[in-house]
């Protein structure tokens, strides 16, 4: 009940004209960025981060939250109409969305199914977030430096293992992100370190240009190969009226959406899992249930299951982000970095110290969910036009956004230089199969991990016992070691088996 009252208070924050406008703008931009194949939510949020500097922290994060959230909707557009997922969570949507649009010649209904299921899944996710967020924060209040160290290690490890095929490369890149973050000033004493005598490095590596380069500019470099790709477009003229679903179809999408909404939220709360895993799991679970048509042939249930799951996961991922300060994905890391830029410290105390912000953001997600649904339906008639913008014209525009955005955050060409160097390095890493998401996550979390780890050692007088004698820390450390050892042992067993077969 108390949460409900706080949520209502949050609505008084989010329902101001400027915040509604910011959420609306975020919804539109998120839908467009999400629909553009090859850009994705991570690059989208990174590229649009400088735009939010105009606003106060609450409005800025409301806009970014809406943008991230609406990206999940937008990703399905190109998956359904072009068979090219706009983002990785929409990969599963293409399996049924494209056949429904192409073979059954019902693109409007496929889009409507995706939008409705996204709204249902998202609503479930946000309702659970409303109750789980503060509950998680209450648990977090009992955490000391040793527990926080263990939980941050789990967060970093989980994303290193889950992103990319090679866990060793994940560890290398995580450590690299931490070292980059350690340049500039020491987090506790403020003493300069790793500045190599350079005045600019004394302030550390600026977050926004670094992120824009790593995920934005490197993406532009990769996009050049796709600029002449021919896609199979749906030629049908789309209208809102012609896209409406029948009552029977609405019934068909309801239960898969609710089921996937619950599952997706749970997946979203887990560190490192995120919307893509949620979408895959939602689809996999739907396969075990009865669908009116076979999945993969354009079934309403197939589209609904993965779309509801990925939106619910996106909402669920806000729970650990706000309550513990732990992002579940690369995009979450960029959002966390954004929060820190505005002087906010997500974590157990956020709900106590900044209730207007925390509840304003949660309530704005309800608002964004409805606004995004409205915008997503309203733009159905224009979608074929939006998606027909050739990639070759997008490349110079994104490059310009990267350059101007990086300049605007530092007011110097140093920002542009950081963006270019991190973009080139990000491209080089991608080419050599190193995932960049763990680097971003560790770059953001490193100061928090370092200060907690050092505080834990100061408390224990330098003894490692503090990590193994406190019950919660012990459990968390066991989880951490299990996460490191299980994939290694499994990989050794697999290799031994393969060796025996050969």
């Amino acid at each position: 009940m108390e949460n409900f009252e706080l949520l209502l208070r949050g609505f008084s924050v989010s329902l101001t004209p400027i915040n509604i406008g910011a959420a609306f703008l975020g919804a539109i931009l998120g839908l467009i960025v999400g629909a553009m194949p090859g850009i994705g939510s991570l690059a989208g949020v990174a590229l649009l981060l400088p735009l939010t500097y105009k606003f106060n922290p609450t409005t800025a994060i409301i806009m970014l939250g809406a943008l991230y959230y609406s990206n999940m909707y937008g990703g399905s557009f190109s998956a359904i109409l072009l068979n090219i997922p706009g983002d990785s969570p929409a990969v599963m949507t293409a399996l049924d969305g494209y056949p429904m649009a192409k073979k059954k010649k019902r693109p409007g209904q496929a889009l409507f199914t995706a939008n409705t299921a996204s709204c249902i899944g998202g609503t479930i996710g946000i309702i659970i977030l409303t109750f789980a967020g503060p509950a998680l924060a209450n648990i977090g209040l009992k955490f000391g430096p040793s527990e926080m160290t263990a939980i941050l290690l789990i967060a970093m490890t989980s994303i290193s293992w889950l992103v990319g095929e090679n866990p060793i490369k994940g560890i290398v890149i995580t450590a690299f992100g931490i070292l980059l973050a350690s340049m500039g000033m020491d987090t506790l004493s403020g003493a300069p370190r790793y500045d190599f005598g350079n005045m600019y490095l004394l302030g550390g590596i600026p977050f926004t240009p670094f992120v824009i380069g790593t995920v934005g500019f490197s993406q532009v470099i990769s996009l050049i190969n796709e600029r002449n790709n021919k896609t199979e477009k749906i030629d049908a003229k789309l209208s809102i009226k012609g896209s409406l679903l029948s009552r029977r179809e609405l019934k068909r999408l309801l239960f898969p959406s609710i089921r996937s909404g619950l599952l997706g939220t749970f997946v979203g709360v887990l560190p490192g899992a995120g919307a893509t895993t949620g979408s895959f799991m939602g689809y996999a679970v739907q396969k075990r249930f009865k669908s009116e048509e076979e999945l993969g042939t354009g079934a309403v249930e197939g589209i609904a299951a993965c779309e509801a799951a990925n939106n619910a996961a996106a909402a669920g991922s806000f729970a650990p982000l706000l309550a513990l300060g732990i992002p579940g994905s690369g995009t979450g890391a960029v959002l966390l970095g954004g929060l820190m830029l505005w002087g906010l410290s997500p974590g157990p105390l956020l709900f106590q110290n900044e209730p207007d912000f925390a509840w304003g953001l949660i309530s704005s997600l309800f608002l964004s969910n409805l606004l995004t649904l409205a915008v997503a339906i309203a733009i159905i008639p224009f979608l074929t036009k939006i998606l027909s913008v050739p990639t070759k014209y997008m490349i110079p525009i994104i490059t310009v956004v990267c350059v101007v955005g990086s300049y605007s955050t530092t007011y110097s060409m140093y920002g542009v230089l950081v963006m270019l160097l991190s973009g080139i390095f990000g491209y080089f890493l991608q080419k050599n199969d190193y995932p960049t998401a763990p680097m971003l996550l560790s770059f953001v979390l490193a100061p928090l991990l370092e200060s907690n780890m050092r505080k834990a050692f100061i408390i224990s007088g330098g003894s490692l016992n503090i990590f193994f004698t406190r019950p919660i820390t012990l459990v968390l450390m066991l989880v951490f070691f299990a996460m490191i050892l299980i994939p290694l042992v499994r990989s050794i067993i697999n290799k031994t088996k393969k060796g025996k077969v050969a």
């Binding site: 350059v403 491209y427 080089f428 050599n432 199969d433 370092e450």
Partner: protein, 149 residues
Amino acid sequence: MTSTKTKRLTPIIFIVMGLVFAYLGFNEFGFWSEVDGPLPGFFPSIMAIVMVFAGIVSLIQSFKDTKAAEYNGPELLVVAGGIGIFVSTFIIGLVPTIFLYIILWLKLYEKAPWKPTLVVLGVAAAITIGVFGMWLGIQFPMGVFENIL
């Protein structure tokens, strides 16, 4: 253009970086004090050592990796475009550089007709001047003209 060498070069870069960070951490910034506990070099040094060891494993793995990294000419052209924007900004300023870049890119490389080129220019102008310049109030560098005007 393909290269298997960069798959080996990348972990070597990480190993060298790790060694430099560990050396500086232990020797310049300090690892541990009996009085104050962990010093500024404590955490980065540990991470640097982790990176060195993981880098060595990654280097060993790279010898088994037969799939070469592919580098295409157009990709490097995007990089060159970015560097060109950076250098040119110091001469003619950021906004003119952006317009020049778009025209050169679309007309010379993409061989695009004037109509879409002008549309892209319009979008870029709206973003640069409209959003960043007027709305966010960013003053862009003007290159050598800064001193003249």
